[in-house]
C-alpha cells in the first residue's frame, strides 16, 4: 500500500481551495536503469475528488506528471467541516483513498 496523501482544504468566501500531495514514483517508461533496461511505466492514471460524497473533479494523468504529484483545485459551495475525499488509481491497479476536513 502506498503512502498516505497530504490533503489541505481551506475555505474562503464559499470557495474551497484543495491542495493534494500524493506519494508516487511516477515512472515514465522512458528511463533506463543502470544496466540499460527500460524501467517500466508506473504512474497514476486517474484521480477522483469528491466533496461530501459528490464527485467534483475527475482527472486523467499520463506519465508526464512529476514524481510525488501535486494537484490543486477549487470547489464552490464548500463550508468548514465538509469532507473532501481523493482517490487515485495507478496503471498497476493500486489505489489509495484519503480524506480531509475543510477548514
Amino acid at each position: 500500500m502506498a503512502d498516505p496523501m497530504k490533503i489541505r482544504a481551506t475555505v474562503r468566501d464559499g470557495v474551497a481551495d484543495v491542495r493534494v500531495l500524493m506519494a508516487h514514483e511516477m515512472e515514465t517508461g522512458q528511463r533506463k536503469d543502470a544496466s540499460g533496461n527500460l524501467v517500466p511505466a508506473w504512474h497514476i492514471t486517474e484521480v477522483t475528488a469528491t466533496l461530501n460524497g459528490t464527485p467534483v473533479l475527475k482527472v486523467q494523468w499520463g506519465p508526464a506528471i512529476s514524481k510525488n504529484p501535486y494537484l490543486s483545485f477549487k470547489v464552490k459551495g464548500a463550508k468548514s467541516g465538509d469532507t473532501v475525499s481523493v482517490t487515485w488509481v495507478d496503471n498497476k491497479g493500486d489505489k489509495r483513498t484519503d480524506e480531509a476536513k475543510v477548514s
Partner: protein
Amino acid sequence: MKPLRRTALRTAAGGSVAAALAALGLFGPSSAAAQSKAFQAKTLAETLAALGATGAADSRDIVITAPDIAENGAVVPIGIKSNLPKTEMIALLVEKNPSLLAGSYDILAGAEPDVSMRVKMGQSSDVFAVVKADGKFFITRKEVKVTLGGCGG
C-alpha cells in the same frame, strides 16, 4: 507517419463507441478508451484529434500560469484557469514531450475551472491548455524554457 495519423482520426470517430462502453459501465464516464489513445498521441494534431478538439479556437479567456524559465524540467509548476462559462474539461499538452498530453481534468458540478499541477518537460517547449466549454473547444499556449531536462531522470 500515415498509419498513426489514421489511427488518431479513427479514435476521434470512435468517441461514440467509448460513450456506449461507458453506458455499459465498462469504463468510467470519461471514456477511458479514447483517453488512453489521447495519451499515446505523438503530435499536436493527433492529440487534439484524440481529444475531439480539432480546430479548437484560440481564446484569451484561458490563463496558463507557468514560469517563463523553468530551472528543473522534472518539476514544472503549471496552473490553468478558464474564464469561459460552462467549462467542462481542461487538458494540458506539452508540445515537445514524447507524448503531448500530460493530464486532463473533467470539471464536474461544483468545481471551479482552476487547476494546477506539476509536470515533467523534456526540453523547452510550448505548453497548450485545451478547454472544452459549452460543447466547444478552445486553446491557448505559453512558451516555457527549460534549462535542465526532466526526462531520463
